[in-house]
């Protein structure tokens, strides 16, 4: 589904990613872990196509297509979703209205008509239930005055609405208490299928108790320096990142 080859990327001439190789197949859950400043969020932004990041070398293939030249929204239309670490506020635009726009823009890109209001409402109700979201929440302005937990839950709600092929969860666990974490993780698990894939980016292993990865990769200094199974995550939790750094620098 996603194939990254020797990816180099920089922001404002500062090189951040220095040769990433990663392949994610449908049905798989991958986790990327690593110390602060290792390039985790940059990788997420580059896959999503954020303009500030310049790909200086390497390729990103999504379902066999080189997506490097595609605009952010075109990647989204293809089924790439990014759950943001810091979701932005859009005052005056309700969650419902935002989702309606997102879904219909995606449908338009695929040559489909707008989703009928009745179907839209049904979908919203369904997904809100799945994520234990109060309906009142949906008429509030997007992320405005939301608590950290509400923001993250709203991200996963959007993911549920858009049904992406590849969902990238960037530090979705940060700022969540244990109950919110459980709800969010349950939501992700319910949405998982053999046809879609999840890339979890996290600093701590705690989220991985709930969203169990098939593969764990350690990102350090712009490179994946170690890959393994979920056992690797436990090892990191126990020993921290220093031994990895030492291994790399040795």
């Amino acid at each position: 589904m996603l194939k990254i080859k020797n990816l180099h990327a920089s922001v404002e001439d500062k090189s951040i990613l220095k040769g990433i190789n990663l392949e994610i197949k449908p049905g798989e859950v991958h986790a990327i872990m690593g110390p602060n400043g290792s390039g985790k969020s940059t990788l997420a932004s580059v896959i999503a196509g954020k303009e500030d990041y310049e790909v200086t070398d390497g390729d990103i293939f999504f379902e066999g297509q080189d997506i490097n030249e595609l605009a952010t929204e075109e990647r989204a239309h293809k089924g790439i979703f990014l759950s943001f670490q810091y979701p932005v506020e859009i005052p005056g635009v309700s969650v419902t209205n935002f989702m309606k726009t997102a879904i219909n823009e995606t449908r338009k890109a695929k040559g489909l008509e707008d989703m009928p209001a009745k179907d839209m409402l049904k979908l919203i109700r369904e997904k809100a239930e799945l994520l234990e979201i109060d309906r009142k929440f949906l008429s509030r302005s997007l992320n405005e005055g939301f608590s950290g937990g509400e923001k993250k839950r709203n991200e996963i709600f959007q993911m549920a609405m858009l049904e992406p092929k590849l969902a990238i969860l960037d530090e979705t666990d940060s700022g969540l208490d244990i109950d919110a974490l459980r709800i969010v993780a349950n939501g992700v698990n319910k949405l998982k299928s053999k046809d879609n894939a999840v890339l979890v980016i996290t600093h701590y292993q705690r989220l991985l108790d709930y969203i169990v990865p098939d593969f764990v990769h350690v990102l350090y200094n712009g490179r994946i320096v170690k890959s393994g199974t979920k056992e690797l995550a436990h090892e990191l939790e126990e020993k921290g990142y220093d031994w990895i750094k030492e291994e790399v620098n040795a």
């Binding site: 500030d52 929204e73 979703f81 943001f84 932005v88 859009i90 635009v93 935002f98 726009t101 823009e105």
Partner: protein, 482 residues
């Protein structure tokens, strides 16, 4: 001799338009350029006005001659040469085009985006109409309904002839001839406009917009509007049109006077989309408008405006809250793009006791434009227990535009409660990226953010019009980012 090409002709027409400030056409009945007493008299004569009206115009002209163009607004432009304008051009009955195929395709594309019907498009772009049974019969029905309720709705020229007692009593009662430079000019030379009278206790059964839009597409350069809501009556009046107005007249100086007698309510909504000039800031209309309403006891006036057009806007719809317990409201969205300049806001003059006013102003600036809010809240010594709430929000797009807020407060009564809130925000790249990531294009994302920002004001517009205004905001800001 070189061949005289179509391009040469076009070039020549362009220069002509500039020279005379309006579209030259042999069919129209046009006065020579310049302004003096004889011209004022001639306008009045041409319109077959009674002597009192002629005198009224002459008084205004006399005052205007002594006045100077105001310079305090935060706008910069080359002042018009008032002696280079022709002050009377009879409406041309002959259509400009024979079919829509001849109309500028860009204009038609905009109409289509706004969802304006073919018939209305023809009317707006001055295309010969086929026999339109529908709109004619609709108009007739409206006229009948209004007539049955005793509502008078006609052009001000007709009203001067048919209802002189009403016009004489109220014209200039809220905006006196000498009020300001442009109001004085308008009083002297106003071409035409609308007159509306709602009798005592009558609730006008329809938005006067519907009628207005079917019947009057074109407006004059010096428009004059007078709306009188008699005791206990209600009217919702809609002015302007979301369709772009490609008027060749550079200067527009309208006057609108509203009178809400005891317990009456007037809701006045405006959508202004005059030609803003091109992307380089060439051309475009100067819109210098004086709008004011007078509220008697328990009366209420609401101004709602969506301003997207004009190169230069100078406009402060105001309320004089004379009667006790009267209410004034001002809801405004002003959009400026490219090189547009807007200096707009309101004045709330609290004279009566327990009077209340609300001001919600949303300014959106893009391109290299300058957008200013200027507002005055004045509480007179006798106005006990008055309240005002003002909120001025500015939204900036890009780094080259400006947003300015000039709130003035003069409170001479200690019991007054005045609240003022102001915010300035910028459409962030993070917001755009967030929307993009959800599959929403940058253009659409901006529209979404702008609509969210403007929601409080859009909600105040009559339903059908709110939808059009929303689309208009999108179109006005097209191409402003990226």
């Amino acid at each position: 001799m070189n061949k005289y090409t179509e391009d040469d002709l076009r070039e020549e027409l362009k220069t002509k338009e500039y020279e005379y400030g309006f579209y030259t056409d042999i069919e129209s009945d046009t006065f020579p350029v310049g302004l003096n007493e004889d011209i004022v008299k001639a306008i009045s004569l041409k319109k077959e006005e009674p002597q009192w009206m002629t005198n009224w115009r002459l008084e205004a002209f006399k005052a205007w001659k002594e006045m100077t163009e105001p310079e305090w607004a935060n706008v910069h432009y080359v002042k018009p040469d008032f002696q280079a304008i022709s002050y009377y051009s009879a409406p041309n009955s002959k259509p400009k085009y024979n079919s829509l195929d001849e109309v500028d395709p860009e204009l038609l594309a905009t109409f289509a985006k706004l969802g304006i019907s073919i018939d209305e498009q023809k009317k707006l772009s001055n295309v010969a109409m086929d026999v339109v049974v529908d709109s004619v019969s609709v108009a007739t029905t409206f006229k009948k309904t209004l007539g049955e309720k005793g509502i008078i709705f006609m052009s001000i020229s007709e009203a001067i002839k048919e209802h002189p007692e009403l016009v004489k009593k109220y014209i200039g009662s809220v905006v006196p001839q000498k009020d300001n430079f442009y109001a004085a000019l308008n009083s002297a030379v106003f071409s035409d406009g609308s007159f509306c009278y709602i009798p005592k206790g009558v609730h006008c059964p329809m938005e006067l917009s519907t009628y207005f839009r079917i019947n009057q597409a074109g407006t004059g350069q010096f428009e004059r509007t007078l709306v009188i809501a008699d005791e206990g009556s209600y009217v919702s009046y809609l002015e302007g049109c979301t369709a772009p107005s490609r008027d060749e007249n550079q200067l527009h100086a309208a006057v609108v006077e509203l009178i809400a007698l005891d317990n009456a309510e007037i809701k006045y909504s405006t959508v202004q989309n005059w030609y803003p000039g091109n992307a380089e800031g060439k051309g475009g209309v100067y819109n210098f408008v004086t709008k004011r309403g007078l509220c008697e006891t328990n009366a209420k006036i609401s101004w709602t405006q969506v301003e997207t057009g004009s190169a230069v806007t100078w406009k402060y719809p105001s309320c004089v809250l004379k009667g006790d317990n009267s209410v004034g409201e001002f809801y405004s969205i002003a959009v400026t793009n490219n090189y547009q300049q807007a200096d707009t806001g309101t004045k709330m003059i609290h004279l009566g006791k327990n009077t209340k006013s609300t001001i919600i102003s949303k300014g959106i600036s893009a391109g290299k434009s300058q957008n200013s809010y200027r507002g005055l809240v004045k509480i007179s010594p006798n106005a006990d227990n008055t309240r005002n709430f003002s909120q001025c929000d500015s939204l900036l797009m890009g780094n080259e535009c400006g947003a300015h807020t000039f709130p003035y407060i003069e409170a001479k009564n200690k019991t007054a409660r005045i609240e003022h809130e102001a915010t300035t925000s910028k459409i962030g790249e993070d917001q755009i990226f967030y929307c993009n990531q959800r599959g929403i294009s940058t253009e659409k994302a901006i529209a979404l953010i702008v609509n969210g920002f403007s929601k409080d004001v859009l909600n105040k517009l009559p339903m059908e019009f709110a939808v059009e205004a929303q689309k208009l905001l999108e179109i006005s800001l097209e191409g402003s980012v990226g």
